[in-house]
């Protein structure tokens, strides 16, 4: 017998696996739909059961459009926002294109929530929090950011760094503006390529990191962005002596089944849909395929 390795479980509150058929979606209805960029659309859903989705920041659902299939999409709203849940869906594949074609009142299938969470209610409490979001990585991070802002007194300094490809690719522009105006947080953003009337920072997200003042002992850093981003951001954080144990990353993989069976999301032996998508960087240092 081989010694069974415990799953990476640094975040409490993982939901109890559902009873019955784990592959059976539950109906939800689109209650709001708002285009955000040329490719990204904001959706708000309500479970037809009338119950809360019951997610925590960082988790994802498998969303179905009957006839098109299922896709893993992270939840963008904070659980403090009751009654509904929100997602931003980028039109890149067949399921997401079908989603973009749906209207308010149309139905989708939902399985989940799945995965580990940004530890806003545990490890992050009492700490300063630095959020680093690259592009669509802002979508899952927004859930944690809004949770922290709704419980502002529970955290120290909050800093948000956001990088988009171009000014046109910026998401949640109204909220970005609101964050910029808030006195109780630091918000800095950049775009890779400036365009038109853009007067803000131009450059990769890594260029923003030296601009924030970090008390590395008391700051937790939470990162989400495209696959290529992590390596460079973490390298930059290392320069500032941020320890691996206070870095949290949310990793994208092909989470086809969401329940740790289908094999697609594995990085080495780790099932990202179950043991992730949120990892403490310290826990995946020996997972070669992770970052």
């Amino acid at each position: 017998m081989i010694k069974v390795k415990p799953q990476i479980q640094n975040h409490p509150g993982r939901p109890v696996p559902p009873k019955g058929d784990v592959y059976l979606p539950q109906a939800a209805t689109i209650v709001k739909k708002q285009p955000m960029t040329a490719l990204d659309c904001f959706f708000e859903f309500k479970m037809d059961s009338g119950k809360e989705l019951g997610h925590q920041p960082g988790q994802f659902v498998e969303i179905s459009v009957a006839g098109w299939g299922e896709a893993p999409i992270s939840i963008s709203s904070s659980p403090t926002h009751k009654g509904v849940f929100q997602m931003v869906i980028r039109k890149v594949g067949s399921v997401t294109t079908a989603l973009h074609d749906l209207k308010v009142g149309d139905k989708v299938g939902i399985r989940g929530p799945y995965g580990t969470v940004f530890p806003v209610a545990t490890d992050l409490k009492g700490k300063a929090v630095l959020f680093i979001a690259g592009g669509i990585g802002l979508v899952p991070l927004r859930s944690a950011i809004n949770y922290c802002l709704d419980n502002r007194k529970d955290y120290g300094d909050i800093s948000i760094l956001f990088g988009a490809r171009t000014p046109d690719d910026r998401l949640f522009v109204d909220e970005l503006e609101a964050w910029r105006l808030r006195k109780d947080l630091t918000f800095i953003e950049t775009v890779d390529q400036g365009r038109g009337s853009w007067k803000g920072n131009v450059g990769l997200i890594t260029t923003l990191i030296p601009k924030v003042c970090l008390n590395t002992e008391h700051t937790a850093t939470v990162i989400c962005g495209p696959p290529v981003m992590y390596k460079f951001v973490i390298k930059e954080l290392m320069k500032m002596h941020v320890p691996h144990r206070s870095i949290y990353v949310s990793l994208e993989r092909r989470m086809k089944c969401g329940v740790g069976k289908c094999g697609h999301c594995q990085m080495n032996g780790v099932y990202v849909c179950q043991e992730g998508p949120v990892f403490k960087q310290e826990d995946i240092l020996d997972v070669q395929e992770a970052i």
Binding site: G20, V22, Y23, L24, A27, G67, R253, R254, N268, Q274
Partner: protein, 343 residues
């Protein structure tokens, strides 16, 4: 648990009885164009318990290559799950395949129980048979999987021209209740079976692993950057044949299919393989395992490290199917693992 000795003719008679049962399917090994494969048995004479190995492992009866999971109406979220509970007897499964099925049972009943797999498993009666003909590539002896002392409902062992038949649980006992005739099995026959087990363990070593199977984990721990991954993967066609014929590969893809009238459809899952080029590709095109060598290595790590870390057993049972299926002749796990051991 009941133990019987049946003459060949009596065993045949039992199979005839089982075949006549209404509502229960009967699958077993039969010959097809010079190969053996599990299939529905129409006539008892088709059953070939002397087969060496089948092309496709019997996992196909628990996780079919194409499996209907849900039905739906389009334009809504009206899903109905389909759980197949058709009873069947799976007759004549070799010990290594029994061990593989038991590993799948563990995987699919871990947290997030897979009701589709488990319903099929529940509806089945598993009749094992000790190996009578060793194939050119069997290495179950090397992996410690040439005999299965448990995990079956009934076990057959060919002894002196007849069969020793033992039930392992009430399910098997119930199946054995339909045996007409036969004698009570004896301790001598059990001793005879022990001898066959020892013989099989010695004979099923067509490829000799140079370490104890449980030590593989440690060698894999060190071998991540071994040159063998590049060297072998250069010849890999990324065809996924090694995945498809493997009794412990269970990865799957899920697809929706819409009926011709576009009013309703089905969600099906199908076998997938980690050697296939786009196995780890996400929408948008980023492939997390783009290099052939990475995919090639992943399979050996899954068998020897990743899956064992999940359920406690080496996920290679020494059937040798991948060795035969691989056109490039690079799939032999023993050859690869031995290189790591020698390193």
């Amino acid at each position: 648990m009941p133990l019987k000795y049946l003459k060949k003719s009596e065993l045949n008679q039992w199979v005839v009885t089982l075949l006549k049962e209404n509502g229960r399917k009967f699958y077993g090994p039969k010959e097809k164009n010079g190969f053996f494969d599990f299939d529905e048995i129409g006539d008892a004479s088709e059953l070939r318990l002397d087969y060496d190995t089948t092309v496709i492992p019997p996992k196909k009866y628990f996780q079919p290559p194409q499996e209907l999971m849900l039905k739906f109406k389009t334009g809504g979220a009206d899903y109905e799950n389909v759980i197949d509970k058709t009873p069947f007897v799976l007759f004549g499964v070799h010990p290594y395949d029994i061990i593989a099925i038991n590993q799948m049972d563990k995987i699919f009943s871990m947290e997030n129980r897979d009701e589709h797999y488990l319903a099929r498993r529940e509806a089945s009666v598993l009749v094992g048979v000790d190996v009578e003909t060793v194939s050119a590539n069997h290495f179950a002896g090397s992996m410690g999987t040439s005999i299965a002392k448990t995990g079956w409902d009934v076990l057959l062992t060919k002894i002196n021209g007849g069969y020793l038949v033992q039930s392992g649980n009430p399910k098997g006992e119930k199946l054995m209740a339909s045996i007409a005739g036969g004698e009570k099995g004896t301790n001598e026959q059990l001793a005879e079976r022990e001898k066959i087990w020892l013989d099989n363990c010695a004979a099923m070593r067509k490829h000799e692993l140079k370490c104890a199977p449980e030590d593989l984990h440690a060698f894999l721990e060190k071998g991540y950057n071994h040159p063998i991954w590049e060297e072998k993967a250069r010849l890999c066609f990324s065809c996924g044949s090694c995945n498809l014929v493997c009794p412990t590969c269970y990865c799957f893809d899920v697809q929706d299919d819409v009926a011709w009238d576009t009013k309703c459809g089905t969600r099906c899952r199908s076998w997938d393989g980690c050697l296939l080029k786009d196995f780890a590709t996400v929408t948008g095109g980023h492939n997390f395992r783009k290099r052939k060598a990475d995919r090639y290595r992943h399979r050996f790590y899954r068998k020897g490290k990743y899956v064992p870390e999940k359920m406690g057993e080496i996920a290679c049972v020494g059937c040798g199917r991948c060795i035969k299926a691989c056109v490039s002749n690079i799939a032999n796990p023993v050859e690869v693992y031995n290189r790591l051991v020698e390193a």
